[in-house]
Point group: D2
Chain length 248, copies 4
């Protein structure tokens, strides 16, 4: 049984994580810490791993406390730049058995989609991305689509892929999408949808399509639990949940 | 048995139509007329219906001959503007039992997709089009995608649909596609594909997707045969195969 | 403004309908009636249309009351057999201006999918249905899939379609799905899904796919509102929301 | 330039391979050997690699000749059982620098689909396979679908996945598909299709779908060329093209 404390337990995401930790096998919820609670509750409760979905303003203080007390941390809070990562590394040097995972994306499906797209890309002449989201989203394309495009582009560069074939000579503005690192990306905004992405790869006579559909925010829970289970065996700083998944 | 003559019989499309007419029930191929052959062969052979997939330069002469001789015509040749259609109508007035079908698209699937998209559009807040073609296509979006967008837009106007919801405030150029008559259209160019289109409609909690995949040029044959079978009962000029299909 | 009362307002579906009626343009929620409330509240509040998502045990009493008082009814409660429909018709004869809509399915997307599948089926050699649901569903295939298969089969019979081509000579049990009225139906049960269905139609060189994705139970609200808005112009008994939608 | 000879060059597949070898960079077609030709032409022409798409009756003689003469072989001919593979290994021991690749499937897309499905399966509660083919196919499900199911089942066993959730209590025969090694497999037979397969994986709130569409038999050419390019660096016997692809 891994003893788990949750920081930001009163928030929407935090409370869903509490539910998931309680329901999962092998994990036990020992502390729910909200913004009005005392972080030392984690120590009193004997938490071995902390999950932090809080706020950029407080996450560094939280992590300093956890590292100081030898508590591993799985972090979904955003806002980590190189400076913050360097700070975390220097703290972790002083607490060599402790592990911290910083993950921008806990959706295992999104991680697998990105990985598979990058592995497949060198085998195909053409690769494009279609992402589909609810119409209240502010940015287009999505961060996941941009990241996928960058990974595809890097994989193509590594094997020296030629530019994709495209004989378009007459086009309406925007018809061929946005180009991210050489990869066309198309963004749909449709009422009723949540968060979806499709990567379409094609070569002579065949196509391969990898599609991820996120229908509910609960989809991050399995990724968080995977992080909680693995962090004890990964001392030091890890950026990206993919490093804990067996993808080979 | 309907006796069918084919004009442009030596061409790629024409020869496939000959094969289809021979294979189909209820039709008999009585004349294959190429550019070096004499069009009067149609009369000698007793053709009741002619299929014309020739060239804009010769199609008007072909049709004048057919109408003069009371032979119905099913026409896939392009280049018909208002002037040509008016000319056809005046010829047909002098041969009141004869029918001519001018159809820009003989794919029944494409016709059904456009029709269903237009019927469904008024019931949904969001509608977007994704078309996917081989990378040697010159125009983007495709003519079918543009036409679909226009039909959707007309259907939405008729019921007074409000603008589609879209909160995008930060976007890369092209990410949200080309806008045709208010409808976003996205064009993918992927090696291995032929001609494909998807219309995605969405409202609260649900989406409806209508997809047409054309995998082989043989796909126009059923539409041509439907035209051949129906033209005898439709004297005068008809533009668009959809008028011969029972779509209600 | 149509004045609307909701019967079963305390239930899960009923309360979502209350929210939808309040949010919609042209409708006003004037009465929420739960199982402990007095149905005469509807009259006091001046309800013109009632929405009934209650229980087969009480719905007939509810409808007798509504018809007696000249209140139109839009009914999603199940359990209507021929006897109950006949009873409703005889009550409605005594209240000639009143309308009752009994609808087994208020999802406009599901209705459109079924309609389009039936319209398209006669044009294709092959038609199969794939339905995908959450794994806690008890029946396979779904009621919607069975109904879709029946509508497709009827449309094919009407035009004399030959049996579908299928050269399968060696098959594992179940590989080719369940056969409903001659139409193969395949049921997937996948964690994370809600309710989805795809109808795949194919002819020489092309396929047409019609897919409905229901991602949230909110998807019945637009259909209920369409019923509420139309019922005043449809006195008598109507079975099936499709009769109120402009589908031609 | 790799000098390539093609055995079975007069056949449908063989002649397409000749075309592909001629068109590709880095390969040169030096011998086309049909069933009436002399296999010693390969030696005269200086072939370094042979591609064999012939017949189970002649392939062993072909390979004995190639191995004897130190010519590498890339083999798509079927019918290799353990006895034949053992025979090949013993011949190859006597010609230690020579490589033979026996591959049941040269479609890179099919290989990637199978690989990705197996990698992803341990992360999901539910996995099912839908394969779609032309209606003249004799077996259901396809060999690729069966193989995919076996790979998924093996990956799930390795991590101790529990049985998939499925609350179905009332089902029509066949509705839930064929069960291959615990994995439901559904086979559609649709006119107009070629060879297609979709693997649907689902967990709480999300699904991942991997789809392979083979639209043209030309789709095996890139896989054959990948084999031709790699075989020189892989002496001995290799079974399965996946061993030559960089999939990690």
């Amino acid at each position: 049984m891994i003893k788990v404390g949750v920081l930001g337990a009163a928030g929407k995401v935090g409370s869903e994580i509490c539910t998931a930790v309680e329901a999962a096998e092998g994990t036990e919820l020992v502390a729910r810490v909200g913004s009005d609670d005392d972080i030392t509750d984690l120590v009193t409760a004997g938490a071995e791993v902390v999950v932090d979905f809080t706020h950029p303003d407080v996450v560094m203080d939280n992590l300093e406390f956890c590292i100081d007390h030898g508590i591993h941390a799985v972090v979904g809070t955003t806002g980590f730049d190189e400076g913050r990562l360097a700070q975390l590394r220097s703290w972790l040097e002083l607490s060599p058995g402790t592990g911290v995972l910083i993950a921008p994306n806990f959706s295992i499906g999104a991680i697998l989609m990105m990985r598979f797209a990058a592995v497949a890309a060198p085998f195909y002449e053409s690769v494009e991305i279609v992402e589909l989201h609810h119409p209240t989203k502010a940015d287009a394309p999505s961060g996941t689509a941009r990241r996928t495009a960058e990974l595809i582009a890097a994989a193509r560069r590594e094997v020296g892929s030629p530019p994709m074939p495209d004989a378009t000579s007459t086009a309406l503005d925007g018809a061929r999408g946005a180009v991210v690192d050489g990869v066309p990306v198309h963004a749909l905004r449709i009422r009723g949808l949540v968060a979806h992405q499709e990567v379409v790869l094609g070569g002579p006579g065949e196509t391969l399509t990898i599609r991820h559909d996120s229908l509910d925010r609960a989809s991050f829970a399995p990724g968080v639990l995977a992080g909680v289970r693995a962090i004890g065996q990964h001392p030091g700083l890890t950026v990206g949940l993919e490093h804990f998944l067996d993808l080979d």
